[in-house]
């Protein structure tokens, strides 16, 4: 029996749930299933999957969750200590008990997908799947076939959303589960918001999450998008994020990948109007036998568009990292600027990284650069720190964090920066970013 059949059987067993749904959803679900059946799971013979073996997903057996039970105390221990509008999903199922969007202003909607469909399915049907269709990848097709839940965020034009919007995805231990969340964000013209996707869970969990996120930024919109992936180390995590940017928009992605046994991120920005700017900051950390694959793509579809990408990988033990970043400049998209940098730090001899930066340019008046390096910690620097009385583990932690600094310095939400620091460098004597101390020094000097 093929690997795909197992998943199609699970879908069939679920079909009684889908009987009452609107015809457009049923049609897309069928299209997703058909496309998935035709494509099958990718193999390493596929160029896009050359470095990533998904057999642990394809040959796995995953059930679909029917409830969102999760203890309040356990959730509180995992959740980001941050004042935010919050939606929580447990193995893909919406938990109203762990959600709080009470104080949202009327100009912002943050709804579970199921509720948004109930209220006005036609309004969801238009944008859903417009950026990430079933042809994008077998996983996008699979997601469409199984789509049940997720988050719909609508920000009215001109709205400045003061608090971050936090989408929290929790993974439970026990029988392996799968979920296929859909995230749909429409940011109105000149709106401003911060969106956080946070993946976490019980440490013994071994679930498969296959999320598709589509983000549409209307003229002048500004969106900061954090993806803090702290999934349990047994989790399998595939994410496809597609961003559409109209004129004068600014999108900033902070893709922080710490957890998961197998992780694949696809991040794509379409810069469709002049003045659109996209920033991709990424930090991926792997230990044990973790496999973390980041595929990014910036499409400069219009003149005078700007992209800036900085991805840093830190790999320990026998971890394997992948960075594949493409910058594509459409014919006659003149005066664009596209910068890309990827640096990787290997903390062990058996850690490994495959880095592949790519430029594809069909215009003649552009400013583009890309580069990638891979290296180890500087032993002379470790020695120098130790001669000052700093123990070796702390010295290594400090230097590892210093390596991550270029990306971490961009993270303005302390609660997130602290999680990353702790994961990457272990417990250091104090917070690494001593901005406060330096300010004190400057004040003393005045």
């Amino acid at each position: 029996m093929s690997d795909t059949q197992n998943f199609l059987d699970t879908l069939k067993a679920r079909s009684s749930r889908y009987k009452a749904e609107p015809t457009w959803i049923a049609a897309r679900r069928q299209a997703g299933a058909a496309r998935f059946e035709a494509l099958g799971f990718p193999t390493r013979r596929d160029e896009e999957w050359k470095y990533t073996d998904v057999r642990s997903i394809a040959q796995g057996s995953f059930a679909l969750a029917d409830n969102a039970e999760f203890s309040q105390a356990a959730a509180a221990a995992l959740t980001l200590p941050i004042d935010a509008y919050r939606l929580t999903f447990v193995d893909g199922v919406f938990s109203s008990a762990l959600s709080d969007v009470e104080s949202l202003p009327s100009s912002v909607q943050v709804l579970p997908l199921s509720r948004a469909l109930e209220e006005n399915h036609e309004a969801v049907g238009g944008p859903l799947g417009r950026l990430t269709g079933v042809d994008f990848s077998p996983f996008a097709a699979l997601n469409t076939a199984f789509m049940e839940e997720g988050a719909v965020v609508r920000i009215a034009p001109g709205t400045i959303v003061e608090k971050p919007i936090l989408l929290q995805f929790l993974s439970r231990a026990g029988k392996p589960m799968m979920s296929h969340p859909r995230v749909l964000v429409t940011a109105g013209g000149r709106s401003e918001a911060t969106l956080i996707e946070h993946y976490a869970g019980e440490s013994d969990a071994a679930n498969f999450t296959n999320v598709v996120a589509e983000l549409m930024l209307d003229r002048g919109a500004i969106l900061a998008h954090y993806k803090l992936q702290e999934a349990p180390l047994g989790d399998l995590h595939v994410a496809s994020i597609h961003v559409e940017q109209a004129r004068d928009t600014r999108y900033t992605s902070y893709n922080l990948s710490l957890g998961g046994a197998l992780v694949r991120n696809d991040l794509i920005s379409d810069l469709n109007g002049e003045g659109a700017e996209t920033n991709f900051y990424g930090l991926f950390f792997g230990q044990g036998r973790q496999h973390v694959d980041n595929h990014t793509k910036v499409n400069h579809n219009a003149p005078l568009t700007f992209s800036n990408e900085n991805y840093k990988g830190i790999l320990d033990d026998r971890a394997h990292g992948v960075f594949n970043g493409k910058v594509y400049v459409k014919r006659d998209s003149q005066k664009i600027e596209g910068f890309q940098s990827n640096k990787n730090l290997l903390l062990s001899d058996r850690a490994h990284v495959d880095a592949k930066p790519e430029l594809e340019i069909y215009a003649d008046d552009v400013k583009c650069s890309h580069g990638t390096t891979t290296g180890q910690l500087d032993e002379d620097a470790i020695y120098a720190l130790r001669t000052r009385g700093i123990d070796e583990a702390t010295a290594r932690g400090l230097l590892t964090l210093a390596f991550a600094g270029e990306v971490l310095d961009k993270v303005t939400l302390d609660a997130i920066a602290e999680r990353v620091e702790l994961a990457v460098a272990g417990k250091l004597p104090e917070r690494f970013n001593l901005a406060g101390l330096v300010e004190a020094a400057v004040a003393l000097n005045d």
Partner: protein, 249 residues
């Protein structure tokens, strides 16, 4: 305070120190001089614990403890601090963080507890001023993009903040112009105290015009061949090392 007895050290199977003996007492300033390749830098590197130096014979004790049995950081925590000839650049690690982590690591190791931030900043500010360094140094990554003189001043700044019992300064004068040399020398002189010792390793006598040593040792071919007071350095300046080598031979 520090006792080095019959120290033999090889680097890549080549014997560099060939039976070096040296005693430094609290309150003293010692200078080790010698021609290139005599083993001057090897001595301070072995005391600090750098990899690649094999001690084949002899002992080093500091306040009665066997230095060769201590980890690198334990030596620093015990009060042995080396100022580098070529300070290492540490990209991404801010100077202020190095100072604070190092000071607190040493204090915690001594059971003193971390220094409160306001007190720490007051201390750092005072020492910065003494070394004629701007507060912006604190925010810069350690030694990254520093000029030669700035790097050396930064080494002394670390000494002033960390207050070691034995400060070892390896060729701290190399590459300094006369103004920078004076600032560095003032910094070193301010460390002089009855309960502290200083070991200067230098090729040139010039530094010793500004930091007058109690004892001068001449190191030739892995051994101390002559010991005297500050006058010895002046003789070396006029006669060179050849005269000493001949007199020993």
């Amino acid at each position: 305070m520090l006792q080095v007895k019959d120290l033999h050290v090889t680097v890549e199977d080549k014997e560099i120190l060939k039976g070096l003996t040296l005693t430094i007492n609290a309150g003293e300033v010692h200078a080790i001089m010698g021609p290139n390749g005599a083993g001057k830098s090897t001595l301070s590197a072995v005391i600090a614990g750098k990899d690649g130096y094999e001690v084949t014979q002899g002992t080093i004790t500091f306040e009665g403890k066997d230095v060769l049995e201590m980890e690198i950081e334990e030596r620093a925590q015990a009060g042995l601090l080396l100022g580098f000839q070529y300070p290492v650049e540490i990209p991404g690690v801010k100077n202020i963080y190095l100072l604070k982590s190092a000071l607190n690591a040493q204090r915690v190791a001594r059971g003193e507890g971390e220094m409160p931030a306001p007190e720490f900043m007051k201390l750092v500010k005072e020492k910065l001023g003494f070394m004629k360094m701007d507060a912006s140094f604190l925010q810069r990554a350690v030694n990254e993009g520093f000029s030669g003189g700035e790097k050396k001043r930064n080494e002394i700044l670390q000494m002033l903040v960390l207050q070691p019992k034995l400060a070892m300064l390896d060729e701290i004068d190399s590459g300094l112009d006369i103004d920078a040399m004076k600032v560095v020398a003032d910094g070193v002189n301010s460390l002089r105290a009855a309960d502290r010792a200083i070991l200067l390793v230098t090729h040139y006598q010039r530094l010793l015009d500004y930091i007058v040593p109690d004892k001068v040792h001449v190191l030739v071919d892995g051994r101390i061949v002559k010991t005297g007071d500050a006058e010895l350095a002046k003789q070396l300046e006029s006669n060179g090392y050849e005269g000493i080598e001949e007199s020993v031979a």
